[in-house]
Symmetry: C2
Subunit: 330 residues, 2 copies
Amino acid sequence: MTKWLVGLVFLAAPLWAQDGPLPSWNDGATKTAILAFVADVTDEGAGTFVPPDDRIAVFDNDGTLWSEQPVYFQFMFVLDRARALAAADPAWASTDVRRAAVAGDVKGILAGGEAGLVELLGATSAGLSVEDFTAEAAAWMAAARHPTTGLPFDAMTFRPMIELLDHLRANGFQTYIVSGGGIDFMRAYAEPAYGIPPQNVIGSLGNANFAFVDGEPQVMKDAGIAFIDDKEGKPIGIARSIGKRPILAAGNSDGDYQMLQWTTAGEGPRMGILIHHTDALREWAYDRDSHVGRLARGLEDAPAMGWLVVDMAADWAVIWTGGAGGRPAQ
Amino acid sequence: MTKWLVGLVFLAAPLWAQDGPLPSWNDGATKTAILAFVADVTDEGAGTFVPPDDRIAVFDNDGTLWSEQPVYFQFMFVLDRARALAAADPAWASTDVRRAAVAGDVKGILAGGEAGLVELLGATSAGLSVEDFTAEAAAWMAAARHPTTGLPFDAMTFRPMIELLDHLRANGFQTYIVSGGGIDFMRAYAEPAYGIPPQNVIGSLGNANFAFVDGEPQVMKDAGIAFIDDKEGKPIGIARSIGKRPILAAGNSDGDYQMLQWTTAGEGPRMGILIHHTDALREWAYDRDSHVGRLARGLEDAPAMGWLVVDMAADWAVIWTGGAGGRPAQ
């Protein structure tokens, strides 16, 4: 760019500030820190430069890229699947936890402990090919509505985070989801919602088998859990699926602690981001005492670790991609 | 392109035939079939068009992208690691299978059965971070030489297959390795050798754990096998890591059968490729009775399945990327 053109751009910047990157982020230290990090790693002349191949950014999903209250959205999908399966065949509801799911009795489901949840996940997905399961999840996503906002679930994705994903990709980053959620469920909507294709989605894995159904070879979902992509599992899942240590990691709960820890311990410029749910008016406010997305240790250690804590109420001008930037009731 | 330019290119084509795609493939039915498939799926006007996002091509590694005789090259890496570990600490050779490895006694290693091999894999990699392990493998690749050809192992990659990978990528395909080999071993050389980055390598997985070493968080390799990416495991590994069914799969052994079967059973244009090792002069000739890369069922069923069988002796003008296109002795 010639000198006068650079000058023109700088002069013009204040006039079109909202047309710059991250328009849904309020101006302030948080936005400045993110933009500075991206500028640093893409500045070929600087010692902070990172080649595009190594610009790996990983994002937790529930609570980081979309809401997770009153319970993880995948949990609502599982309840709806249970209802549909029992409607088609009442004999399906053969155990306490299955009956609780059909009744939408969350307390009854949780009474079954982890074994009950694993049974429920298996019973609502086993016997479907991975392709059919993802089609079921996509159909659910198109039809289902959130119990308190009435919004489609994929309208409750965070607009500021989608802008961040876009800004990173525009600067040569590869963006990944690294979530405790089921991998095949997330793949049903991650590409239209976030621009993240199936091969960039890392998540928890159910068992699977290769079988012939109506004479056709299929990869079938099976009961049982093969891998839980949470806490210590996140760096392991990243090492297995990407084979490189990211330079940026974003999460919102203590389940993301080890992912941020491993990411930011690497050489060169690194960024760890924690989304702090502080906005009871436009979304939900929770951290240390929440039953979903509990954030205690991360909040405590963030200053010492150099992690950026995003204050949703202060830092985000808009929350959701749908619903007029917040709860539609407002 | 203007008409006269098109005419010029067509007239000129025979003069520079070797400058077209796949120059190391001899002209004939095999090369024609491959080029026609790529032309079909990239022709936007045709019913055979496949959008770039779905142009997923998967390749077995041992025997498909490089040689695998007299034993898988990773096996030689394991023997060299065993020797180095025993040299540093003689107490390392504490079991029969470890002593056999240090002595290079293949029969003694195989006497330990699968449990012995798993022990050996674990004992030569456990206690290293994934990053250190990959650095060890890369250093070995730079220094080690093949026992009969004297070539660096990565000079024994197949030039025709690397041209095929390049041609696919030039036509909007995403190329993946899907191999029974260890994922971290392959990631040490797959990018320089094949242009396939770490995140596009799918392989067998050892156990791993997240730990602090000298105060630094690390993903550490552990003893034991978490996933074997062979036979029925290949379609499962693809479903997990890519989340899409490929449209092209290439292999060379019955370990690739299910991957080709699942790939080619999908809707629309599909291609299954089997590399048949027929060239005893320039490489090795083996199929039904080989202890590595056994190919019996695939060869039998290829015509009925519509799979393309590549006859290395007839179809390839050049074999290796190194060694003057064949064994250096010739």
